[in-house]
Symmetry: C2
Subunit: 195 residues, 2 copies
């Protein structure tokens, strides 16, 4: 990588962390300048507008998600082991093991669901891809004979995301020590219902 | 109600709508002045700071939730009918039937989970009350013999909230026409598992 690309990547790592903590709307070139101790004009050279910055941060967070959650899960054997790996790594993502503020997509989805524009469009496309990925991983379990042939992969995807979201809420907002145990029980019940 | 109280209630109705659309952080006295066409100084007379405004909006939204979701559900017969009423009304709340931007608590929970202060403290207390209410409604189903005696009401509460959250995500962000059907199926599966 060139020096410019390395610098930009380091800024985006930092920006994704800030966004995961205060939300995409709280992430401005001004706030990023304060946190990184870089000049506003230097940051403007990388991101010409707040919206461009928001989009680059989402793209960057998506790469972090693929590298830390999706790709290692898909490296597991097809079917139930792969579904379990995806769920376990998704909990880590929601918890904040990869980006310290938890999942920036969930937070941004709530922020931007009523705000038409390029950020919302990106989120819709990204979250459809996410649900498609869960459904696709689940389908390997149908073809391997681990789950019922008539199980609905899209239903499973929406249900699994729900378990992750209420886990994030109970763990990060309420700091409920039983949150993860409950999320894992809900996941086992969901798998049981697909057999 | 006095004229002042009536005016304040009308402002809070409007502010709760704005907050449910753009988030609590997007709700400022300046933005509220623009939307309501009231003067900033007039609004300052009602809410002395941005934080005071955010707290009053959350308290007001909580009243709307109690009036439109919790109280009518609790008026239903104890046990399964009451649990079903609570779920159905919760979907309407998430969808935006009561406040047009959907559930402001879910959005605010994501915004404020990493931001210590009075707003976060209010949300923690409020969301614990919410989960306690779901668990309490569920317990009436255990004592009526509709659900297993060893079913876990706190587990049910976290699971039901998860179904609502992924429904809100699929309906409001993705505009998925099957979102509600899937949420209802997930709820039936959850009830089946408690019998």
């Amino acid at each position: 990588m060139s020096k410019g690309a390395t610098t930009k990547r380091a800024i985006l790592d930092h920006a994704a962390e800030v966004a995961s903590e205060v939300g995409l709307q709280g992430l401005t070139i001004g706030s990023l300048a304060t946190r990184t101790e870089l000049s506003k004009s230097g940051l403007f050279a990388h991101f010409r507008s707040k919206e461009a910055l928001q989009l680059e941060v989402l793209r960057h967070a998506r790469e972090r998600y693929i590298d830390n959650v999706l790709r290692p899960a898909v490296a597991e054997p097809r079917g139930e082991p792969r579904v379990r790996a995806l769920f376990g790594r998704s909990l880590a993502w929601m918890r904040g093991d990869i980006l310290p503020g938890g999942c920036p997509f969930t937070a941004a989805s709530m922020e931007f669901d009523d705000q038409p524009g390029t950020v919302r469009d990106f989120l819709v496309s990204d979250q459809r891809d996410l649900l498609d990925s869960i459904a696709q991983v689940f389908r390997t379990g149908i073809s391997e004979g681990h789950f019922r042939a008539d199980a609905d992969p899209e239903q499973f995807a929406q249900d699994m995301l729900g378990i992750e979201m209420s886990y994030m809420h109970a763990h990060r907002l309420l700091r409920d020590p039983k949150a993860e145990d409950r999320a894992r029980k809900a996941f086992e019940a969901l798998l049981t219902a697909t057999r």
